[in-house]
Structures are given as C-alpha cells and as structure tokens.
Symmetry: C2
Amino acid sequence: MSTQTKYLLQESQLPKFWYNIQADLPKPMPPVLHPGTLQPIGPDDLAPLFPMSLILQEVSTEREIEIPEPVREVFRLWRPAPLFRAHRLEQVLGTPAKIFYKYEGVSPAGSHKPNSAIPQAFFNAQAGVKRLSTETGAGQWGSSLAMAGQMFGLDVTVYQVRVSYDQKPYRRALMETYGARCIPSPSNETEYGRAVLAQRPDHPGSLGIAISEAVEVAAKNEDTKYALGSVLNHVLLHQTIIGLEAMEQMHMADAWPDVIVGCTGGGSNFAGLAFPFIGHGLRGGAKPRIVAVEPAACPSLTRGKYAYDFGDTAHLTPLTKMHTLGSTFTPPGFHAGGLRYHGMAPLISHCKQLGLLDAVAYTQNQCFEAGVQFARAEGIVPAPEANHAVRGAIEEALRCKREGKAETILFNLSGHGHFDMSAYQAYFAGGLKDEHYDENELAQALSGLPSVPA
Amino acid sequence: MSTQTKYLLQESQLPKFWYNIQADLPKPMPPVLHPGTLQPIGPDDLAPLFPMSLILQEVSTEREIEIPEPVREVFRLWRPAPLFRAHRLEQVLGTPAKIFYKYEGVSPAGSHKPNSAIPQAFFNAQAGVKRLSTETGAGQWGSSLAMAGQMFGLDVTVYQVRVSYDQKPYRRALMETYGARCIPSPSNETEYGRAVLAQRPDHPGSLGIAISEAVEVAAKNEDTKYALGSVLNHVLLHQTIIGLEAMEQMHMADAWPDVIVGCTGGGSNFAGLAFPFIGHGLRGGAKPRIVAVEPAACPSLTRGKYAYDFGDTAHLTPLTKMHTLGSTFTPPGFHAGGLRYHGMAPLISHCKQLGLLDAVAYTQNQCFEAGVQFARAEGIVPAPEANHAVRGAIEEALRCKREGKAETILFNLSGHGHFDMSAYQAYFAGGLKDEHYDENELAQALSGLPSVPA
C-alpha cells in the first residue's frame, strides 16, 4: 500500500486550458430567454454587464479555452492545489474504500472562489473596465474578487448583505485588506437600495437585493461591469481547473475515481471537479458516479423543479432553465451561507436532466458531525459548505464498508473553516437547528414560476 | 529571470532528522539553575513535567536527532511546506533584491506551532502519558497541541488566558473541534488558580498564571505531563524542520540567502528557520546576516538584559540565562499575542551574545502597514506576528534598493491571519495604538531579576 499523503503537481503542470463541457454534451443547453420577449438572447444583450470575452466563454461550445498567461501567473501563488489521500480518515472509518480529496482551501482567500475571480478580473481589465461591482453574502466571493481586483488594478465595490456585514466583520476586514470597498446592502448608493430603505429603513438585506444593487451600478456606469461568483457557464468553466489538475493527480496516484462527490449551492466548485471527469466519460472514458450534495434546507436539485426562472429575486436577470425552488423562496438561515441559493447552475441542471449525475441532501448537523470527524482525522477543519461534501464522501465510504467494496472516492474540499469557527462553536454548544424550509412557502414559490411556452 | 513562484519538495524529501545547533556552538550554553540551590539542574529534575525523551533532546549536543516515522507521517498532511519567491512584492517595492519566504500557514492550525506539538504529543504518548496540560494566550499553541493530542490519542487540557478565552472564541472553537478541553484561566481547577480567584474573582488572567496552572496539574498527576510551545531547546529543535526544508528549496531555486529574517516572541519560528543556516555557517559555509524582528512594545532582544531569570511570573520554573525584560514585566496588549513574552529563548539569547544574529524592533502600525502591502501583492494575509518578519524583510529590500544591491532575502511567514482579521479591522479603522511599555515598569522589572553569582 502506498503511504503517500499528497500528490503535488509542479507549476509547469498547471493547466493551460479550461475544459468546456458544452463541447461534449449529447444535447445542447436550452436557450437563455429574454424575460420580456421570451425569445433567446444574444451576446449583445449581456454586454452592459460583462466584457465580450466572458460572454463568448458563456456561449462557447469549444472544448478547450485558453487560460491567459497573466491569469496563470497569479494562479501560481497557490496552484496547482494539492490532492490528498485520506489515509487517516479511511482508518477511522474502517473502510476498504480509498478516499482522495482535492483541497481548494490553500488559496489566499481560503476557498475555490479565486479560480474564477482572477480570470474575471483579468478579462475585465483587458477590456478597459475600471471598476467591478458584485454582491456577497458571507463574503467568500467578495473577498476573492477583492483580491483579484487588486492584482489587476481594478476598483472593486462589494454589496454585502447587511445582516452578514454586521454579523461577520472578519470577511469584510479581508475585503478591505485587499483594498475593496464593502457596502452594506440595501444601501443609499443605488436607486433600488434607496427604494428598499424607504419602505423599511432597517432592512436586513438579502442576496437578491445585493445582486440588484451591483447590477444597477454596472448597468449605469460605462466604466463598471458586474461579476458573479457561481451559476453562470463561464464561472463553472473557470473552476474546471480543479478537475483538470485532479485528473493528473489521480494518474500520479495510479488510481481513478469510481465516485466523485462535491457540495452544491450555485454549483461552481462541484462542476469544477466533476465536469472534466464527466466529459472524459462522455468521450468514451470511464464513467464515475457523480454525487452532488446539497443542504436539506435548500434542496434545489432534489426538491426543486426543472423550469425557466429568474436568477435573482428582483427579476432583473434573463430567464434560464434550471432546477429551482422559485426565485421568491427564502432559504432558512443555516451556516453554509455559500449554499443558500434558490437555483442550480443551468449547466449542472442540464446534466442532471441528462442523467449524468445524482443528488442527495443532508441536514447541517449531519454535515458538521462529518466535518468534525474529518478534522480530527485529517487536521484540516472544513468550511461549513465543504462539510456537505465530506458527509457525502463518508456515506460512500461506509457503503463500501457494508458492501465490502474497495472503491475509489474523490471529493472536493472546497475551503477551510477558519472564518467559520463561530458555526462550529454553535454546533458544540448544541445550538444548530436543522432548520427546515416551509413546505407551503416552497409550493407557493414554485407555483409562481414564470410561464414559458414549451 | 526565473518566473517560478513556489518551490515544492516531495514527501520523500521531508527531513528525517532535526538539526541541533548545540553541536556547532563555539561556546556551550550556560547551565540551567535550580531556583533554590542555584546549582545546575539535571534531567531528573525535569522528569515530573516532561518525558525523558524530550528532556534528553533538551540537553543533547548531538548534531542530528531522528524524527520518528509516526511524526513524519502526520507531518505529511501539510509538509514539506512551500518556499515562495515574492516576485509581485519585489515589483511593488522596485527592489533589485530577490525575496523568498517560507510559508508555515499551510498547516491545519494555520501556523508553525504543530511542528513541535506533533512530536511532543508523540513522545509523551510513547512514554505512556495519558494527558497533556498546557497554556495558551490567543490560542495558536493550544489549538496545535489539541490537534496533536487527538492524533496520538492523548487528552489535552488547555488553560487559556481568560481575557482571550472571552474575546477570541474562534480559537477556542478550533481547540474543541480537535477534541481538547479549554478552560479559562485563572480557574477553580488548580490550587494556584483558586488562590488567584480568591484575591480577585474577576481576574482577566495572564500567560504566567496559565503556565502555573498547567504546570501544577502536570506535577500533581502521574499520568499528565506539561507541554510548552516555544522557548525551550527541544521546541526550537523541532522547528528546525523549517530551515532544513528551506535549505533544500534554496538549492532548487539556485539561490542562497544573504539575509534571513524572522519574528521573535519566544523565538521558535525564528530559530526554526535560522538555526540550520547559522550552523551551516559555523561549519564553514556561507554566513547570512540573521535578523530577529521583535515588537517595539516587548523588546527583549533589543532592550532586555542578558541575565538569569524565571520563565514564568509565578516563579515555578528553573532559572535560565536569557535576554529578559524581567519576569514581572507586563507587555502592553498589542495584537501580535504570540510575541508577548518577557524573555527570549536561551538558545537564541546565547547566539545573540556570540554575535551570530542581530535584532531590530518595530511598532505594530509599522508591521500592519507591511502586512497589508504584502497581502495586496502576494495574496496571503499574514498573522500579526508574521507581519513583523514581513516588515523586516521589506526594510532589507528597500535598503538593497537604496544601495543598488541584488541581495537574496529569506524570511519566515510563520502563519496566516484568518483568525486575526479583527486586528486588521481595527488597523483600517485607525484604532491601533503603538502602545509603549512603561519605562519605569521595565526598570523595576529589570532591577528585580534574581541575584545569581557569576
């Protein structure tokens, strides 16, 4: 048995191309629709918000899209990221399975989010953009874009959900360390923010409102564009660097996954690991089972409807076909803030429809229990979001134990939990509720989906 | 010019031996004295507190001491640690200097502390010890020992300074995640703690009191030993894995340091990087200039006296000769909690006396300014302690710029700042005071040093 723990790639092995799964899909993606005309939109419709280079990535069906050298130069600060064999966790579980995990917490921001923030900043800077606006909840995306903007000379303005702004000042301090402006949303800086505040001066904010503010600022200012941290095709494309590296590292380990597990909110870290393996299978290679793990309190893939819906609550975005709980659905306030989104990335939703992946849901106590078990065996304390992937992988390993199968499991440990220790503190104090959504609210949100003729 | 950013060693290159600088010193260390008899103590005097294997490391003059395989197995979870070339920082500074940094923030606890916590737990477990007691201030050492104890099946009890216990709950949550008990000190669990509380029920605690409680528990319980995170010879020995790896990595980079910089509190991360290079120089190799950077508010090397003193404020420890501000000196409450210690490691103090290293002191605003500059260039946000090393390295790089010299600078980035964002927050809010110690208090503390005949 190999006792090697880490599989490290040299900088010369850093991927030079992202992998675009749209090239290999047996059926093309449903079109994105204009919310007024219900007609498919074209690249120009998105031009006020994004630079054309990113829009072209959004719609591309080329298999390989080049990673520019200035992006790779920044990536070298932490990439290639390590792949670990979880020897110690395997021993604790007493499983015959081999467990591997790709670790994205080595980035300076502590998660996979810079994988897309860096290229988004680069392509915007290249297009002459001076400022990026974005929204953030807990702050993982906001801090990553703040770092990326700093590195390419862009000003970054982050609209942070006010309740998070007040309750989680450390991520805000990280954004400011990277030189970004962080504004509690709803704010007085936008028309939409002012309208919300006029109705309710102490409004706690929501991701939907923050998106609307960030989009408004980008739409109204020539020198400003908008950046989104998940869901969109080009964001998932950027994250495929995770899976491309992992494929090389599995070769180094002389192994190949039978099962791939990731956590899903908007879907970017999951797609980043899984898509290159799915594509390999579609092109005739081995077909690992792909398992998306989502929170039981926000189960878009397992309980949502596959339908056209808005990406935001204020209904400013185009309509995309995706697994959705309805854009008016408000997920309960569980700790894995990065997974609190009503919809699933259209690309992942499409793959689910095509039978290319499975989905399961766990409660947050189930996930924290797994995270603590992982930390005590492997040292690394996972982020609450990543605990969902840990739980999924442990379940697979225990299944292998029951079935006496020595399968190979690969999961994505998308970030460390050093910014989230208050959640662990609450868990140890017995204070985590397994908050369930309101079934009536879900039914209502689903019944309010926009009507789109087939 | 090489554009390589990281220099990574394979697991097979993980050092098999620690380096013991005592083998190469031109003059042996002054003896450790019994506080009552003022006579040199022997190994047996320390046996109530430490297992004999660690005591023998403490007094050894063997050059190489083997790292046991079970310790190396745990080290593989994050070691060998990367060495970085700070290309982007060099550009920002416009310096002809080459700046390299060894990064210890990749450990699961986020700092270099596990380098000694893991072997200390191993040697204690090997000696049949069931429980470790220790103290911690901000919690870096406590969380590292908590992780180490979990990995070798030892119960860990951490006495945390009460004010930190209340103000910094996240490190405590980390200790609990690793399964340790964390107790605010002064506590009702020890005689000494009860005596302090009887005098002042709301006592905020101090590192000195917490040490006394942890030592008392170890001295009174057959199955319990004590563990210290810095200062002692064997702790510095364990940290030499940093410098030993860095030497290999400098070879990979086809470079060798002209200057080595580290931050100093008790001295362990600094010694860990510097000692292997100092020893190499003592054995006839190149002699880099070695610069210890300490906080201006707790300047043991630059303002302290080289004298016999106690290691704790309660005067339970033996007397060691070291640079000290006096054991009754109370450092102001600056943010780099890991550097708030009245004394300097005896081995480092001895090297200073022998002219083997220099020391400088900076204020905390000077250090945070450097840390922010570093974060914006390199991405990684340093811990407040590590900001001292960053400042020292930047000063050297700017000197090189003034002098037109392309020197090679190597510094130790001993930990990341993700647990310390409240300090950055205060810095941006303009809230950091450059607290100065009271000159009268220092004079008084120094005049109260124990009288030891020459």
